[in-house]
């Protein structure tokens, strides 16, 4: 069943139809929030709030085939709110984090642990954390576009519509975002071999 049909059924009074929509979109929304916020707990909360809001506002959605972007729009707004709230909470300086990455990366094996599998798994895990940290360092408007494009697989036109900006602006944010990420990764002097080896 398509999203349109489920929305129709939900608006006609079938709650199960909405639950199907939730089950279909929970994972993408959760991952969007997770990459945006970098924290599973907050991402879970945002996901929950997103669907509660969607539940209440679904009757206002005019283009039903745009459910995906509409839902992401809700999630994005909630993520921004969450970020504002958090900015007041804590601030970790760059100096505190970067040396940690570097020392851990230079030390490519764990003491007493051998084998390429362990090493690789460790590198994969670190790579994820490093990428997440880098994502959180670029300006929010660039990060938003990078996540929507690269991780959520949206088209430039969809992102433009979601954010209410021109396609060219989306592309230039993407361009600056990728370049900024690259600069950060270079600054951290990440061992290219460690992270590029299985590209």
């Amino acid at each position: 069943m398509t999203d349109d049909q489920l929305i129709e059924q939900f608006l006609a009074g079938n709650l199960q139809a909405f639950n199907l929509l939730v089950w279909r979109w929970q994972k993408p929304i959760y991952n969007f929030a997770l990459r945006f916020l970098g924290n599973a707990e907050d991402a879970h909360e945002v996901t929950q709030k997103t669907f509660i809001k969607a539940y209440k506002k679904l009757h206002t959605l005019k283009d039903r085939h745009k459910f995906n972007t509409w839902l992401h729009q809700i999630a994005l707004n909630l993520c921004r709110d969450e970020n504002k709230r958090r900015r007041r909470r804590t601030f970790i300086s760059l100096d505190q984090i970067e040396p940690k990455w570097q020392s851990r990366l230079e030390k490519k094996t764990l003491p007493g642990v051998e084998g390429a599998t362990v090493e690789k798994a460790l590198q994969q895990m670190e790579l994820q954390q490093i990428l997440q940290q880098a994502l959180e360092r670029i300006p929010e408007e660039q990060r938003t576009v990078v996540i929507l494009k690269e991780l959520q697989g949206m088209k430039f036109t969809e992102i433009a519509e979601l954010l209410g900006i021109s396609v060219n602006t989306v592309k230039s944010r993407m361009y600056y975002g990728l370049n900024a990420l690259r600069k950060i990764l270079n600054q951290w002097n990440i061992d290219r071999e460690a992270i590029y080896d299985d590209l």
Binding site: W23, H44, I52, F156, K171
Partner: protein, 228 residues
């Protein structure tokens, strides 16, 4: 194509939202301009890195229910009814126990049964005993049969209880769906998130098999004790 024009096309090229003609002239520029080529390679590598970020599974599934006319306590009572009913398990357990008796009677004692994550495993050790013991072949046959029949039973119980749970959950959801128009007046807190309840059901199912396992072990220990 100038460098500036080339850069303005990088994103289209990177995400393959580009027409063939533009692509060709961009590729031609990259062939001749090392500065743009270097930047292009950097963008490509960064993109490849980003693609390594996995899509993670959320910890629990969300589900909406509308419990307007019921109290929370009533809802919980319904939810608890979703937990495995003992009738099925008891019947199967009886048969399994009888089978075990037969094995014990064949003087196999100290039997260990392990049920772990849907896999069923059984180990038996023979006591050094003056009593006549079955031949190793017979023991093996008996064990094989027991193992097979028990895992069949466990699978059956599992399937039946899961079906019963799903049906019941479905009924509850449908019942709640009927009251949907009242939901708007509900506070946000009243939107129950069933995900955790589903997890609980899952845990209890496992727990119950764990208990069955424990009971079987106790039974075996008792019997072997009496024999000695």
């Amino acid at each position: 194509m100038t460098c500036e024009q080339a850069r303005s096309r990088f994103m289209d090229f990177l995400y393959e939202e580009i027409d063939a003609a533009t692509r060709q002239s961009l590729e031609a520029h990259l062939q001749t301009c090392s500065e743009c080529r270097q930047e292009w390679e950097g963008l490509r590598e960064t993109r490849a890195l980003l693609q390594k970020l996995p899509q993670l599974e959320p910890e629990s599934r969300l589900a909406f229910t509308a419990p307007p006319r019921r109290s929370l306590a009533e809802w919980w009572r319904d939810a608890r009814n979703l937990l495995p009913q003992s009738g099925w398990a008891r019947a199967a357990f009886g048969t399994v126990a009888a089978l075990l008796m037969a094995i014990v009677a064949a003087s196999i004692v100290n039997l260990h049964i392990i049920y772990d994550h849907g896999r069923f495993e059984m180990r038996a050790h023979l006591f050094q005993s003056p009593a006549p013991v079955p031949t190793p072949e017979l023991q093996e046959q008996l064990l094989t049969r027991l193992r097979r029949e028990m895992s069949d039973y466990i699978a059956e119980i599992h399937a039946a209880e899961r079906a019963a749970q799903e049906e019941k959950l479905d009924r509850i959801l449908t019942a709640f769906a009927r009251d949907i128009e009242r939901l708007e007046q509900q506070r946000e807190n009243d939107l129950m998130l069933i995900g955790q309840e589903l997890d609980a059901i899952h845990r209890v199912t496992h727990l119950q098999f764990g208990e069955t396992n424990q009971m079987l072990q106790q039974l075996v220990q008792q019997i072997s004790f009496q024999e000695r």
